[in-house]
């Protein structure tokens, strides 16, 4: 049999898939980071809307989090991928080009992941803000800090401290969700494994390698998150 062995798959030599899989892993990380960043921005605004928005803004924010947490992520990715293509094609037609214009899968994926994780991060940030002691803010006001200074020096760091464990969970979810972006054809880790599986006829080996890579990424990033948690909890007494 001329089938490649397990080590040949992950080797970086000629005929090995190591380099391709590593590039795919990088793409996975890139999608996850972009989605997570978009989600953080949405989450910040969502939490702000829920904490100090008026009735209408709060209603919209509540609706957003309820809907996005009750709908499969895959459906959201389909919405952005196909909906984006339809929208881009319509815009293209407006400017006189005819024919179909595809929406880039990476953008669709990052936006979809960002919007779903934004709903989770809204809740994380809201809870974290609620955990900041009123007294700390009062003390800052008493010291004569302006609103901006208060936010930057007191509220933001304390909120981050309380939000980090929750953000870590959301990151792990985002990382796994990024695998769904493979359906848009973006060559990330899972898509690359699919390509490899198809061309060698060894799906099991490729998916095991892909799974192990996801495990490695999530374990490494988990360790990093723990370090940053320690950084942001300096000065907190532990019993």
């Amino acid at each position: 049999m001329n089938q490649p062995g397990f080590l040949d798959i992950i080797s970086f030599g000629p005929g090995g898939w190591g380099a391709a899989l590593l590039t795919g892993a990088m793409m996975t990380i890139l999608i996850a980071i972009s989605g997570f960043a978009i989600g953080s921005v949405i989450g910040t605004f969502g939490a702000w809307a829920k904490v100090s928005g008026g009735k209408t803004i709060r209603f919209i924010a509540d609706g957003y989090t309820t809907v996005l947490r009750g709908i499969p992520d895959l459906l959201v990715i389909y919405l952005f991928y196909f909906g984006g293509s339809a929208a881009v094609t319509a815009i293209g037609r407006f400017f006189g080009s005819d024919g179909f214009i595809g929406f880039p899968g990476f953008l669709a994926g990052a936006l979809a992941v960002g919007i779903t994780s934004g709903a989770q991060q809204t809740e994380v940030f809201r809870g974290a803000f609620k955990a900041v002691h009123r007294g700390e803010i009062e003390a800052a006001i008493a010291c004569g800090m302006s609103r901006g200074l208060r936010f930057r020096r007191i509220i933001a760091p304390l909120t981050v401290r309380h939000a980090l464990p929750g953000m870590g969970n959301v990151w792990q979810v985002v990382l796994k969700e990024s695998a769904l972006v493979s359906i848009t054809g973006v060559v990330e880790l899972l898509r690359q494994a699919q390509i490899g599986a198809g061309s060698t006829g060894m799906p099991f080996n490729f998916y095991v390698v892909a799974g192990a890579t996801y495990l490695a990424i999530s374990t490494l990033s988990g360790a990093l998150l723990q370090r940053s948690e320690r950084h942001f909890s300096r000065g907190v007494r532990r019993n």
């Binding site: 009750g70 695998a179 799974g211």
Partner: protein, 239 residues
Amino acid sequence: MDWSFALETFISLVAAIPLTLQLAATSILLGAVLALALALLRLSGVRVLDWFARLYVFAFRGTPLLVQIFLIYYGLSQFPAVRHSFLWPILREPYWCAVIALTLNTAAYASEIIRGGLLSVPHGQVEAARACGMPSFMIFRRIVLPLAVRQALPGYGNEMISMVKATSLASIITLMEVTGVAAKIISETYRAIEVFVVAGLIYLAINFLLTRLVHLIEYMLSPHLREPRLQTSVQGESK
């Protein structure tokens, strides 16, 4: 929004609801049994069993569900031994592969929830049961399990909702459940928004009913937290 198209979509999506519910219900039920077993392994105190359960939870929580589905559906067919075994009629079917993957996945998450519930049972309750002379299995059946179930229920409700959402991934291995039908309609018509709204409403409705159901069970399992109902009959009269 084109209402006649939305109605047409709604009718074809409703026909797919039974498959979604069947996938979710089967895997949640089978997953609960496996999860309880895993939680008991974790708490067994036998190091080998404990580590097996830890490894299982680590592997299934750290990899994307889609990788697990691919590993079972595509991966296992790589081995001639599997293809010629008596299990092949099951592992050949995308439906059963999806159920197996969803079951194994939810068991990992749920086992941690159940473990938390089991650990939350106050020691005094067990001691009291032992003082009453109950054998250990009876203590587990009558005291520990009911208390643990009550404690784990809110978390388990969330897990059930994510399982309903996770069934959407079965569409990637050709199962025509709600998301599968929705994706087919979207790719045929490129009207992503209408289909998304209709499919999203279906998932929201399912998840809403599910949360109501969990709340109802929670209510039924905590009579001690309710206001006592006014007794209208005189004690002893019913005999």
